[in-house]
Structure formats: structure tokens, C-alpha cells
Symmetry: C2
């Protein structure tokens, strides 16, 4: 391995000067600079990132924490895919690397392990859920001054660095869209209440119904767990109340698709017999039949913004404030919410 020392010798300067050239520090004679660069090139010298981390006492890594999920479904969601891409883009702009950390169930309570070993300077935490244990773990992180940012999850009452989307407004748009299409009897299939955006979506739904002077029937408020299967099963309940249902807003695309599958088995076709809007605007929305109207959530940008914010804190010492950033959502209309018998 070629080290700084060899470059220094070849360029006839001190090792410190070599470092200064590579870090762009201090005033220096262009000629010296050139000599050093030439020597480095000739020797194919590249600074040792580990030694740099050691000396700087910074790893240059951003930890990305993924929640535990049973084996095969860990990364399968479009959700994580997009966020990871956004983080990756930002991280490279800042000269950082991403260290992936897949939590196991029993480790979910101890985030500090990641920092203790000094392998990451900060973390972006994905897919956390609102439980007492989680709150405690995160408060512990905060108390120790370890920088982190949550994506797509808020903890009411606590002040963390969070990047979220405006799910209230997104749901409002979705339900308003259904109303604009002429539907009055609109059901809502929500996901698990452990996610803050489930609450947000309920809020948006209620507001839209209220603003339109429509009644919210308790039997039209369903709850799944964001899986296709839970949407499929919700079709049972919805079918029982089919006289009171013209349209459905589902809290994600997978449940919306499961729901369409379940109702199709009973002869009810989305976009013909009823309307559906999903949430996430994932790939699946384009693949489904009929193509699914959905709320686009800027996951990519959310990941990018989270990485930007938390690294800014590390690099420029802006650790004090904990901004809460909320990015806008956007309705994407496809065939599932256009009723032909309506036109």
C-alpha cells in the first residue's frame, strides 16, 4: 500500500504538506502542489479512508436503520426502495457512505450500539413505529446527543428531527377527488395505528367528509395492516355494507389492490361498480387492473432531505435544533377512480 510518506519523499516535501494538498488546506505554492499531485499520481496514492476516519474521529458513514421484518419482506416495499435511493444520492454528494443496519427484533431497543462502535456519525431511521419502547430508545439517543433523523414517522409530544409527508393533505385530496367524481358514500381502509401517518390519513379523510357535509359511517371505517392480504380480507366487511359504499380510499396501494381483488371475486369491478384510491403511488399502482389512482408520496426526496439534514448537523454543528420537515403529496388519477356509469 502506498502511503503519504512515500509520496512526501518522492515530492520532496513533508508528509504534512501532502495532507494539506489532499485536503485543500492552508496557502501553498502552486509548484509544490503540482509536485505533490504528480508524485501521488505516479505512485497511484490514495488516502486510506480508515486512517482518515481514525484521525478525524469521524467514520464518514451515515447509518441507515431498517426495522425488523420477517425475512423475505424486509426490503420488498417500494417505500424503502425509494427512500434508500434518496439517501444514497445525498450521501454521495457529501462524500459520505451509507452503512446499512437491519435491526433484529431484540435489538430494536438499543440504537446506541450503532454509535458506540463509532462506525456511523449519524443515522436515518426508517419504519419506526410508535410504541413506548421506541419512544424510550429514541429519547435515550437524543439525550446522549447522537444525531438522527426519522423518516415518515412523527412522535407527538417529542421533539425529534423528522422528515414527513403531508399525509393529512394527501388524504384530503384523495377523498375530495372521489367527491368531485360524484361519490358520496366513501369508505376508508386505514393501516396500523402505530404509524403516525395512519392518524394523519384518518384526519384528512374526516376533514374532507366533514367539509363536504357528508356523514361518516362507523361501519365504513376499516383497518388493515398495510398488507395486500389485509385489504383482501377487508373486502368481506365492505361487501356486507355494499349498499352504503360507492367509493373507497385505502391507506396504501397494496391494501387497495387486495381490496379490489376481493371485491372482484364478488363481481364488483373497480372503476365500474365502485371507485378506489390508494396511497404511495407505487409501481403496483401502475401494474394493477385497473390502474390504481393513488397519492404520490415523495419518498425519494424525503430520504434525501433526511440525509441532508442530519449530515449538516454533523458537519456544521447545527445539532441544536430539530426541524420537522413536511413535504407535499400529489394526487395521481388513474382508472380505478373514474366511474364509467357516472359519465
Amino acid at each position: 500500500m502506498v502511503t503519504r510518506k512515500e509520496v512526501a519523499e518522492l515530492a520532496r516535501v513533508s508528509e504534512a504538506t501532502v495532507s494539506r494538498v489532499f485536503n485543500g488546506l492552508g496557502p501553498m505554492k502552486p509548484a509544490t502542489r503540482e509536485r505533490v499531485l504528480a508524485a501521488a499520481k505516479q505512485l497511484d496514492y490514495h488516502p486510506n479512508a480508515i486512517a482518515q476516519s481514525f484521525a478525524r474521529r469521524r467514520s464518514g458513514n451515515l447509518g441507515v436503520v431498517l426495522p425488523y421484518m420477517p425475512k423475505v419482506h424486509l426490503f420488498s416495499a417500494y417505500y424503502f426502495a425509494e427512500i434508500l435511493s434518496g439517501i444514497g444520492e445525498q450521501v454521495r454528494e457529501q462524500g459520505y457512505d451509507m452503512l446499512l443496519s437491519l435491526l433484529k427484533p431484540d435489538e430494536s431497543l438499543d440504537y446506541t450500539r450503532l454509535y458506540r462502535s463509532q462506525k456511523v456519525d449519524a443515522c436515518v431511521i426508517l419504519g419506526s413505529i410508535d410504541t413506548p419502547q421506541q419512544r424510550q430508545s429514541l429519547e435515550q439517543l437524543q439525550d446522549q446527543g447522537l444525531p438522527f433523523c426519522l423518516v415518515n414517522q412523527r412522535f407527538e409530544g417529542l421533539s425529534f428531527h423528522e422528515v414527513d409527508a403531508d399525509h393529512v393533505e394527501g388524504s384530503y385530496q384523495a377523498v375530495r377527488h372521489l367527491q368531485d367524481e360524484g361519490y358520496r358514500k366513501i369508505a376508508f381502509l386505514n393501516g396500523s395505528p402505530h404509524y403516525s401517518n395512519s392518524g394523519d390519513r384518518l384526519q384528512g379523510y374526516m376533514k374532507a367528509m366533514c367539509d363536504a357535509g357528508l356523514e361518516v359511517l362507523p361501519e365504513l371505517l376499516l383497518e388493515g395492516n398495510y398488507s395486500r392480504k389485509s385489504g383482501y380480507e377487508a373486502a368481506d366487511q365492505l361487501w356486507e355494507h355494499r349498499e352504503q359504499v360507492e367509493a373507497i380510499f385505502a391507506a396504501n396501494d397494496r391494501m387497495a389492490i387486495g381490496l379490489m381483488q376481493g371485491l372482484r371475486e364478488r363481481g364488483w369491478i373497480a372503476g365500474r361498480d365502485f371507485a378506489v384510491v390508494g396511497c404511495d403511488d407505487s409501481d403496483a399502482a401502475k401494474l394493477s387492473d385497473p390502474p390504481l389512482s393513488s397519492i404520490n408520496v415523495p419518498f425519494y426526496e424525503m430520504g434525501k432531505e433526511a440525509a441532508r439534514g442530519v449530515l449538516a448537523g454533523v458537519l456544521h454543528g447545527e445539532g441544536a435544533n430539530n426541524p420537522r420537515i413536511k413535504l407535499p403529496t400529489r394526487l395521481v388519477v388513474r382508472q380505478s377512480s373514474k366511474s364509467s356509469h357516472n359519465k
Copy 2:
């Protein structure tokens, strides 16, 4: 930060002894060991991973290289999601971490950059394609003795460490299944020839047709690029030859679904008017209408095996041989390949 020195002082031993305790090295008196562990616990000491990496001259990181894809689609494929999960599982078993590296277009030629900075000890390379530049880059890696493993891609004529699935057999199963269902006129929609498994699939298709004594019509050999859109567009061509088509085998699920969408617009329904089998057995296969028969590829296990192999090389110095591992595929039958008019 608590260092080894403080632990040594508290336990009244030398720093070397503390290290030995934490690394489980050499014979030592249980009493000493206990004293050290107690002191470490009392001080909440944890070894500094960066200092360890520095001293050991190993980073403890496995690089995971992802190919360049335009912004939003980088991780979107089920494909990468599964492989990453498998790598993650194996890596943690070995006490390693995963360092994600998202290639940009202009960097695809220089993998050595990753190793030069010493931030990774080995790499798993995903989604590489067979081009002269790629071959050259990989050979360069190999020449420099840098350990790496390719997943789901082979380079004929070169001897790399590769983990692949048996796509020939998988395709054979798919086509045989269609034949068993009574279909004789079977088209094949392949993906980009830059992937070795495209060739494998063609081979499996040809063999199954040949074994069954069926003719392979050139106009029934189509090529897309693995996107839904390319499958959708292939429907045009297929429609022109609809008299000669009863069934289609597509080289991945997304194309298969696009194809079904395109033919549906012409009134041709999969599972009723024709049969389809896809490939990957992705989430989309369950979400599509009708649910898509597909070839299950053990991506998770492939990722795990790749990580296992390449880390074994690093840790136990088995760098000399370059095994080529091939994992089995499995046919999953759903509605898209069961023709009702056939029964």
C-alpha cells in the same frame, strides 16, 4: 469516550490484557478476565470499531455495489430488495457491516476505487451487465486480487466468483408447464441480451420446445428490456400473430404484466384467451389480475450465499478458487396459465 486504557487502570491490568479479553485470545486466568469485564461494564466501555479496523487493516465492511439506474428506479425492483436482505442476514452473522455503493454511470468502469480507500474488504456486485467495459473492469479487480462475487450474472469465458440461479431449468419448467396444460403454440418474450440469464432462458425455452417436438417460430421470439412498458409494447407484435399464439412465457413478471395489459386492451384476457407465465415470482405476480404464474428465483438465498462465499475468502483466506454456484428455481402456478376453455 471510554478507552481501553481506562479499563486497564480500573482492572489493574495492562492494556494488552484488556484487548485479549475482548478478543478471546491466549490463555488467561478467569479471575483476571472477570476483573476486566467488570471494569469494562462499570465504565461502559466498547471497543472503537474504527481503531480496530485501523489496527487490523480490515474495515469489517462488505461493499454492496448496485448498478446505476435513473433516479427513482434504483431500488424499486423486487430483485434487489430480496438480494439485499439475504446479504444483510449473512453479513450480520459474520459480524460484518454492509456498505452500500450506488454506482453512477461514469464510475461503472472503476470498481477498484471502492477498495483503494480501504472502506470495504470485499464486494458483492449486483446487476452488472455483460459488456466489454464491464469485463475489463472485473478482470482488473481479479488481477489485483480484490475479492468480489457476482450475483445473478455470469461472464462466459471468465472465471469469477458467481452465484446464479438455474434459469435454464426454470424456463424449461415454465414452458413444459404450458405444454402440460395443452398449449402448443408458445411464444417467448425475452429481456435484454446483456444479462446472462436472458440467454439461459432462451436456452430453456428452446430445449422445452425441442423436447416436445414443437416448432419454434421466429416471429414468436420477442425481446423487451425487462420493463412493464416493453411488455406492453410487445403486445402489438404478438397481436399481429395471434393465430399462432396460445401461450406466452415472459422473462420477468413486469413484462408479463405489461403484456397482459396490452392484450387485455384488445379483449384478450390472460387465463381465458391465452396463458402466461412470468419470471421472478415477485410481489407483482400476486397483485396482478389474474394472478401470474411465475418462476420463483431464490434471490434471498443468492444474496446470502454470495456474501457467505466472499467473506469466507477474506476471513479464511480461501481466495484462490472461484466457485460458481447455481441455485434451483421453482415453478409457481397461478391463474394466468390455467385456461378455462381447456378444461
